[in-house]
């Protein structure tokens, strides 16, 4: 950074007292030490995730099949939304490093501009995460467990022998109406018989949703659709156990609860870091606006909060790899 960090200083002089052996201020060194310890927390969480996943006897959900919706679009956009979130965070990291660079030139106007963009990027990321959580909690249509063993042929031509207790999934439109029906909404009427199933919604603008197909292996392997008479057979074999979305007690994505719990904890803990990063960024933004840094003669505070902000991006890089990609 400065001459101090490039200079060749003898060990005796460096550690002899009266100076920083690292060539940085106390505040910046402590920010680094905090980040080193904070990274261990995330490291521990990801290791716990890996351990849980490796020792799981039930199949682990495939992230591409769980996270494939976009706001307003249910369907086949695997990982696109997460990639977008990653991109937003990378860009906000770039605007932060540009703010630090401007600080080194004592260019107050540029620091304010880039910090404002960083705060906006952080807010966008938090909003995206809120949507993703909401979608994860509400689920992609939900499913039910089978009450008895059924043998069906999927649209891929393969015959599947399903056991009692296996999950069968409904599509997005039908599933969400079914959830209302099960919750006792009197305006949603279920009509099933003679090989066809439909739900009629009698509220404001009444409409009928037909059940066209059911899905097996939705999140754990290449999903298979079942339609026609076999679909009706699956429907008739359903038990009373429905699951819609996920929370801390149940999950439509997997047999084991660990997947959803780790999703909530890891992305939640990271999201909390992003949130506090945005708050600290806003505080520093107003300090710069007030001219505090100009009075001090340097913008090191921007550099310190920048370190924290980059760290948040760094953690997301690892979460992205271990939770979404692998």
């Amino acid at each position: 950074m400065s001459d101090e960090s490039k200079e060749n200083i003898s060990k005796e002089a460096l550690w002899g007292g009266g100076r920083s052996p690292f060539g940085v201020t106390y505040g910046k060194m402590m920010m680094w030490f905090f980040l080193v310890s904070d990274a261990l927390t995330f490291g521990g969480l990801l290791v716990a995730y890996g351990f849980s996943r490796a020792s799981s006897t039930d199949p682990w959900p495939i992230a591409e099949q769980v996270f494939r919706a976009l706001p307003g679009l249910e369907g086949e956009y695997p990982l696109i939304y997460v990639a977008l979130m990653t991109f937003i965070l990378i860009i906000s990291s770039v605007t932060m490093v540009l703010a630090v660079e401007a600080g080194h030139r004592n260019d107050r106007k540029s620091v304010l501009k880039w910090m404002a963009w960083t705060i906006i990027g952080g807010a966008f990321f938090l909003g995206s995460q809120a949507w993703e959580w909401s979608h994860f909690i509400h689920g992609g249509g939900g499913g039910f467990q089978l009450a008895q063993a059924v043998t069906v042929e999927g649209d891929d031509g393969i015959t599947y022998e399903l056991q009692a207790g296996d999950m069968v999934y409904m599509d997005h439109h039908f599933g969400h109406l079914m959830e209302q029906h099960l919750n006792g909404n009197p305006q949603v009427i279920l009509d099933a018989g003679h090989g066809h199933v439909s739900l009629t919604d009698h509220s404001d603008h009444g409409h009928v949703v037909e059940l066209h197909d059911l899905t097996i292996n939705k999140y754990v392997a290449g999903e298979t659709h079942v339609d026609g008479f076999k679909m009706y057979e699956l429907w008739e074999s359903r038990s009373e156990n429905y699951t819609f979305g996920a929370n801390l007690e149940t999950s439509e994505y997997a047999e084991q609860q660990a997947f959803s719990d780790f999703f909530f904890f890891i992305t939640g803990f990271h999201g909390f870091h992003v949130f506090s990063g945005v708050v600290i960024n806003i505080i520093i933004f107003f300090m710069v606006l007030k001219g505090t840094m100009d009075k001090r003669g340097h913008y090191e505070m921007v550099e310190k909060v920048g370190l924290y902000w980059h760290f948040v991006d760094l953690v997301w890089v690892f979460v992205f790899t271990f939770f979404y990609l692998i």
């Binding site: 960090s5 940085v24 860009i91 990291s93």
Partner: protein, 125 residues
């Protein structure tokens, strides 16, 4: 108490200043890293979407590629964005070395305990 946020020693890193010409060079480097990180992320997503996962050698190779690309990304963020590459070597080591050991330790655990677990699994079935 002496305040370290005030400049008392001109040679300290908090006095890191540069002029507009040098800033231009630095910004060019920042834009290069931006493009690199974005391209790597795009490649990762593309690979994740394109290839079916399973117990195939292809998927194992892809997983190792993900790990390698992640470390490349992490390296650029820490060394370039967080300026650790420009700090004194002793600070750099104080930050990076714990993680070198952490990763070596995790690799050891995965290779010994992980495979031991699988061996027991095979015995049971």
């Amino acid at each position: 108490m002496e305040r370290d946020d005030l400049i008392v020693n001109d040679s300290y890193a908090l006095n890191a200043h540069h002029d507009e010409a040098h800033g231009k060079v630095l910004r060019k480097k920042i834009y290069f890293v931006t493009v690199l990180l974005s391209v790597i992320t795009a490649i990762e997503v593309g690979m994740g979407v394109m290839f079916k996962r399973g117990d195939t050698y292809t998927w194992t190779a892809i997983k190792w590629t993900f790990l390698a690309l992640t470390l490349v990304k992490a390296g650029y963020i820490v060394m370039s964005f967080m300026h650790l590459g420009e700090e004194r070597k002793n600070l750099r080591n104080a930050v990076v070395m714990p993680y070198v050991f952490f990763i070596l330790y995790l690799t050891y655990i995965a290779l010994t305990e992980g495979f031991a677990n699988m061996a027991i699994d095979n015995l049971l079935h």
